[in-house]
């Protein structure tokens, strides 16, 4: 319904798509925070981080082989002590040690797997949380939990909450961008749910490097720019004439501006999405793989003011290693390792790491017990995620799992706790960030979640 919208309301509604008024200084627009317009007008905490890049490893990466060394597994290989009789999705067998060597890395001496040589070089900037847990052993519900804090596929995504809570910094870009190779994935993971539609994630296919292939209808196939400019001018003249005859109307006015912004977006804004504009050396550092391009684009989007970038590694649940896990990890880790580490390094060089949260993890981890001899099943009881930047302590390994790496036992961190802590760094109290819908106030963290103060600077 278009009513007489306030200026605030109007600009909010313009922010839903790829931008609107004025494209000046697009790449580095430093709009004052007072001007950044979220719907949420509740209290704010001190802001530590302005942006989030979530590197999502769908399928559930194996903490046992990457971040959570468990030498006891070797001793007890093949055994099945009572403590590992936890129900997961599938039938599991005896304990399966990791064949990968762990070495102390950085000044902090955190042990990291040989699968991740690049991450080892930046580990002093990383807060490794070894005691994550979640609440469901199957992909879709668990994925829904990490994305929205709820099992139900109808709640707003984390990114939508961030967009709602903090608004857009750059009015020309969506505040919540999803980068998903092949354009796949279920849009229900980045839905706005009951939040205003403009907070929905805008998904781009980052398997492509050409912006026109990523964004539908970005280019006109029939007219050159000057010709289309004339078309737009003629259109604007008719629209102004209509406004004159109708009278002042925020919708009519807003659409004239949105039309103009769309025209310019074709040429200017598209640059943001074009990683080919980066120096060759930088592209080499990230690695030029699809995931690397996504990481690099995420950095460019953060520079341009996008609040929340959700980046999927690969299409589908690629880290779901029910079988031949060792071989799979050897194949998959190198490019993930290189790009994720390059992102941290690059952000740090640019002085952006302090204000950017880089989060890494999947919907759960994997079991220390084997599935069919050479695979690992889903493990929601205890797994690793890491966060770099944004006021998280670097060079610490927080919490721990049991002797075999199955269940988080010390300093347990639930996905609600993680959400609460990330929001806290963004300057929002997770108990205050609510939205009234269907008769009650909803939160990202429902009735749960505690800020994990120990891992914050």
């Amino acid at each position: 319904m278009i009513e007489k919208l306030s200026r605030r309301g109007m600009i909010q509604s313009l922010c839903g798509g790829l931008g609107s008024v004025g494209l000046a200084a697009l790449l580095n627009e430093s709009t004052a925070y007072a001007d950044s317009l979220g719907h949420y007008a509740g209290p704010h905490l001190p802001v530590k981080a302005k942006n989030i890049i979530f590197l999502f490893m769908a399928g559930g990466p194996s903490q046992i082989d990457m971040f959570d060394p468990k030498p006891d597994l070797i001793k007890h290989a093949g055994e099945r002590p009572d403590s590992v009789n936890l129900r997961t999705e599938r039938q599991t067998g005896g304990l399966l040690p990791s064949p990968f060597e762990f070495k102390k890395a950085g000044k902090s001496g955190i042990e990291v797997s040989q699968l991740l040589p690049q991450m080892s070089t930046v580990i002093d900037d990383v807060c490794v949380i070894r005691s994550m847990y979640t609440f469901n052993p199957t992909h879709v519900p668990a994925r829904s939990l990490i994305h929205s804090g709820s099992l139900l596929a109808n709640r707003p995504s984390f990114g939508a909450w961030v967009s709602y809570g903090l608004g857009s910094v750059n009015k020309n870009l969506p505040s919540f961008v999803v980068l998903t190779p092949g354009g796949g994935g279920s849009s229900s993971l980045w839905r706005a749910g009951f939040l205003p539609a403009e907070h929905q994630g805008v998904a781009f296919n980052d398997a492509e490097v050409e912006p026109e292939k990523m964004i539908a209808n970005l280019r006109n196939q029939w007219l050159a720019a000057p010709e289309q400019r004339r078309e737009m001018d003629a259109l604007a003249a008719l629209n102004r004439g209509f406004s004159n005859s109708f009278g002042e109307d925020s919708f009519l006015d807003g659409r004239i501006k949105a039309m103009e912004a769309a025209y310019r977006m074709q040429f200017e804004a598209a640059d943001v999405y074009d990683v080919r504009k980066e120096p060759e050396a930088i592209r080499e550092e990230y690695g030029k793989t699809p995931f690397a391009n996504g990481c690099l684009m995420a950095r460019r989007l953060v520079e341009a003011g996008v609040r929340y970038i959700h980046l999927y590694y690969g299409a589908g649940q690629v880290w779901d290693d029910h079988a031949t896990i060792n071989k799979n990890l050897e194949k998959r880790c190198p490019d993930m390792d290189q790009a994720a580490a390059a992102l941290i390094r690059d952000l740090k060089r640019r002085g952006m790491l302090d204000s950017t949260l880089v989060v890494w993890g999947g919907e759960f981890g994997r079991t220390p017990v084997s599935e069919s001899g050479d695979g690992r099943d889903h493990n929601p009881y205890g797994y690793t995620m890491w966060v770099a930047g944004g006021g998280f302590k670097g060079g610490i390994a927080y919490g721990s799992t049991d002797e075999f790496g199955f269940k988080a036992v010390e300093n347990r961190v639930s996905i609600h706790d993680l959400h609460a802590t990330l929001l806290n760094q963004m300057g929002v109290d997770h108990t205050k960030l609510t939205y009234r819908y269907a008769g009650r106030d909803f939160r990202l963290t429902d009735v749960y979640g505690e800020v994990v103060k120990d891992i914050l600077v």
Binding site: M1, I2, E3, K4, G9, L14, G16, G17, L18, S20, A41, R90, Q91, P137, T138, V140, P141, L151, L152, S186, S188, R191, A192, F194, P196, A197, E198, A216, N217, N220, W222, L223, E227, Q228, E231, L235, A237, L238, N239, G241, F246, F251, L252, R255, A258, M259, A261, A262, Y263, H322, E371, T431, T434, R436, Y437, A438, G439, R440, D441, D446
Partner: protein, 829 residues
């Protein structure tokens, strides 16, 4: 969504109401500790037996009030502040005394016991504030049933004498007296009547969902008879396209869609859900009384004398969203998902039809409205006794059909399970034995169905995919593909079935620790226990199925089957005043762009109050008196002077009432995606008049059908629909939240879809040699009017310039695209 709240300057009010459902963590650490660590445990583990709400709390101990906890049990205090060792409560939860172990369902985790020890040790601070009367039974934290019965929205509706107004000549019908009285009170004048061109556009968009053509507009503008406007409305109300427009409105409320949010093996799409959409369109066109319209959607199969064709209405429940249930998960998890599915129905029905947020009472009594948790589980029982079923479009012997529908569900689960454990045999112990057993059962059901092939070949055929191993290689053919194969099929099917429901109690079967089936018991109903915090592991006593207590005039316990028919009856008997107000307000909002109640799906205490309560009551009473006729209501509203007002802005109106709460003008609006897409197609002469049938994607270049027939997906919203604010069909939608974005404009500027329309339009004026005529004709086709002299000059200047030899679009095509893209085209005056 209620954007109105945020944009109408009521923001401060909204803020005061924040943080209500979740526990409010107080500032002081003691209180926070209690709220965080203690209270949730008391609620989840103790209240079900130790509550003031019970007529006799166990042991005389009521723990849901501060006073009750301090007083202790019949045998003395249970807490000694500062002395955990002396506190009976701690003894009980430690399970050290075999005679005193609480909670009886199992020992609490050690960490929780430690929390209680710490809490008692530090003084057992209890920040709860008891309501007046201390521990005396205070049934609800929110509004009591008794108070609730006095709530405005539940009061009987009756016709109200029109208020006296000064400018009585302005009023065209009774609606206007109510509007004008409030305007006069604020010393605002109504706006003048809209121009004939504006009126005819407004009426076409409103009633048939697209703009009138040049000729249609001329017919009206040149009709000078005094009844011209009435005739226009009456003509449009009889158009078959009326049902396409107004049916779509209802589809927003009914969260109509043709698949499920995740579309996995156990929640595949609904390939025949389009038959439910077609039923809605037909029923609306026939002006089926609203009470019957809703009753059929809830309970067509339980009502006497219903035509078989009307069973299509049950798509309302039969094509509702469901979640994936990986049957390898435990009983608790599967049962939990089942309750989530039923919760969805409770929410859709209560907000959609009754404007009540009953689902708020899933974890605890509603915090504001008079809805106890028992009411919630009473309704959940109705849907737990209703299974989804693909029912034949043709008549079948009822006994045979009942058996067929059970076999259909059973075969689906067996086939899914057999496929799952064949492909992932290592994931469950004894997979092979299980698969063999299931395949044997599949075969036996197959043989049973073969026995029916002679009499009902289509029933047998429909299930063939379940017993065919390996699945045939032609998906799309009737019955093609295995159960799992059809899961993600993105196409509508023409099989002679519709997505419907059948009465059957559904239970999670916990008998196999490694594999959880769902048992369907056709012809049986079940009760659902009250589940504190919505947790299936904390189930209390079974709650009989019944209607909302606050609305019930007498004992409303349901006795027949699932109780859907009795529920539907109560909605229109005990709940009639509320139900009528809710639909009248929705219809008003669809006509005016916003309702008299700004929160169309929440008429509870957290919703907005009506801006014109007497008008709403009077109109609702007359709506009932006119046999719940939606067409009567459309007509009554559209014939009012209020509706006919101009939508142009006025400085005095803006100053006095910028949100137009008083209706001093018509609200100017933009077209929604359906009427926009349809109007664009119609301008190019391409819009198909064909009604009904399977769906196609909205932005397909070959789809020229009305947008109401576009495919609606919960898993992958069509990009065009999404960009233009189509509501997410995973839940009932109260109103559309229309935005203006640049992505929308890129569609007009650069899409092949719009480009094709421009080409078609340009070709259609190709035979004219005079560019003035070409432009005039384009204006007529697209904007249904002639260009002004100035507009003609602009167009000529555009066409006269030297053509760009590189351009792949002729200037006249470009101009057609310009006119299609104008604000005027997307505007609803």
């Amino acid at each position: 969504m209620y954007p109105v709240n945020i944009m109408s300057g009521r923001f401060p009010v909204l803020l005061l109401l924040l943080s209500t459902c979740a526990p409010i963590f107080a500032q002081e650490p003691d209180a926070a500790f209690f709220e965080n660590k203690i209270r949730p445990v008391l609620v989840a583990k103790c209240y079900s037996c130790h509550s003031t709400k019970l007529s006799s709390p166990m042991g005389g101990l009521a723990m849901d009030s501060k006073a009750g906890l301090q007083r202790g049990s019949a045998s003395g205090p249970v807490i000694v502040a500062g002395k955990p060792a002396d506190s009976k409560l701690l003894q009980a939860i430690r399970y050290t005394n075999p005679q005193l172990q609480m909670p009886p369902t199992g020992k609490l985790p050690d960490s929780v016991i430690a929390d209680f020890e710490q809490w008692i040790g530090s003084g057992a601070h209890d920040p709860r504030v008891d309501s007046a009367g201390g521990a005396s039974p205070a049934p609800l934290k929110g509004m009591s049933i008794e108070e609730g019965r006095k709530w405005w929205a539940f009061q009987p509706v009756k016709e109200i004498a029109a208020p006296r107004v000064k400018n009585a000549a302005w009023a065209k019908n009774k609606i206007d007296s109510f509007i004008l009285a409030q305007l006069e009170h604020t010393k605002l004048n109504p706006s003048p009547q809209a121009s004939p061109a504006e009126l005819v556009q407004r009426a076409y968009i409103d009633l048939v969902g697209y703009k009138p053509s040049f000729d249609e507009e001329q017919v009206y503008v040149n009709d000078h008879s005094p009844r011209a406007y009435e005739n226009l409305i009456d003509k449009l109300l009889t158009s078959p396209h009326y049902g396409e427009r107004w049916g779509r409105h209802w589809m927003d409320v009914a969260r109509f869609a043709e698949d499920n949010p995740t579309g996995e093996a156990t929640n595949p799409g609904y390939p025949v859900a389009w038959r439910y959409r077609d039923w809605i369109i037909d029923a609306i066109n026939a002006d089926m009384p609203y009470d019957r319209f809703v009753k059929l959607q809830l309970a067509a199969d339980e009502m006497p004398g219903v035509a078989h064709d009307d069973l299509r209405a049950l798509g309302y429940i039969g094509a509702a969203p469901i979640y994936h249930k990986d049957q390898r998960l435990s009983y608790d998890v599967i049962y939990g998902f089942m309750t989530d599915d039923w919760d969805e129905r409770v929410d859709a029905v209560s907000r959609g039809i009754l404007g009540m947020t009953v689902a708020c009472a899933r974890c605890h009594d509603h915090k504001f409205d008079p809805i106890p948790t028992k009411d919630y589980y009473a309704l959940m029982g109705v849907f737990a006794s209703t299974m989804r079923a693909e029912r034949p479009t043709f008549e079948v012997d009822p006994k045979v059909e009942e058996r067929f529908l059970w076999i259909q569900r059973r075969l689906f689960d067996l086939r899914y399970s057999a496929d799952l454990l064949t492909n992932e045999a290592s994931t469950v112990v004894g997979a092979k034995e299980r698969v063999d057993k299931w395949k044997a059962e599949i075969e036996s059901l197959h043989q049973e169905m073969e026995g029916l092939r002679g009499q009902y070949p289509q029933l047998t055929q429909h299930l063939e995919r379940f017993w065919t191993f390996p699945p045939p290689r032609q998906p799309g053919a009737a019955g093609g593909g295995g159960g799992a194969r059809r899961a993600n099929a993105n196409v509508a099917s023409s099989e002679p079935f519709f997505n419907s429901v059948y009465d059957a109690a559904q239970f999670a079967d916990g008998s196999d620790a490694h594999y959880t089936f769902i048992n369907y018991k056709p012809g049986e109903a079940r009760e659902i226990p009250v589940m504190p915090h919505g947790s299936v592991t904390a189930a209390g006593a079974d709650e009989p199925r019944h209607f909302l207590t606050v609305l019930s005039k007498d004992d409303s316990t349901f006795h027949h089957g699932s109780g859907r028919a009795e529920f539907a009856d109560r909605v229109f008997r005990d709940g009639a005043p509320l139900t009528a107000r809710v639909i009248v307000n929705r219809v008003w909002a669809w006509h005016f762009g916003k309702g008299l109640v700004a929160t169309p799906s929440d008429f509870g205490t957290q919703g907005e109050k009506p801006t014109h309560p007497q008008l709403l009551d009077d109109l609702s009473a007359r709506f009932i008196a006119h046999g719940w006729s939606l067409k009567w209501l459309n007509r009554e509203i559209m014939l009012s002077a209020a509706y006919r007002q101009s939508s142009h802005p006025r400085a005095d109106g803006e100053a006095a009432d910028s949100v137009n709460a008083l209706i001093w003008r018509m609200n100017p609006r933009r077209l929604d995606i359906e009427s926009y897409r349809d109007s664009l197609l119609r301008a190019a002469g391409k819009l198909s008049e064909d009604m009904h049938g399977p769906s196609e994607e909205a932005d397909s270049l070959t789809n020229v059908r009305r947008t109401v027939y576009a495919r609606v997906s919960r898993a992958r919203t069509n990009q065009l629909l999404r960009e233009y604010d189509f509501p997410d069909p995973i839940q009932t939608s109260a109103a559309r939240d229309l935005t203006v974005t640049s992505l929308q404009q890129l569609f007009l500027m650069n899409s092949a879809w719009v480009h094709n329309l421009s080409s078609t339009l340009a070709s259609s004026v190709d035979s004219e040699s005079d560019p003035h005529i070409k432009i005039r004709d384009l204006y007529r086709k697209i904007l249904s009017r002639d260009p002004s002299a100035h507009e003609m000059e602009l167009a000529m200047a555009y066409l006269d310039r030297p053509a760009d030899p590189e351009a792949k679009q002729s200037p006249i095509e470009q101009y057609a695209q310009i006119l299609l893209s104008t604000n005027e085209e997307i505007f609803w005056p």
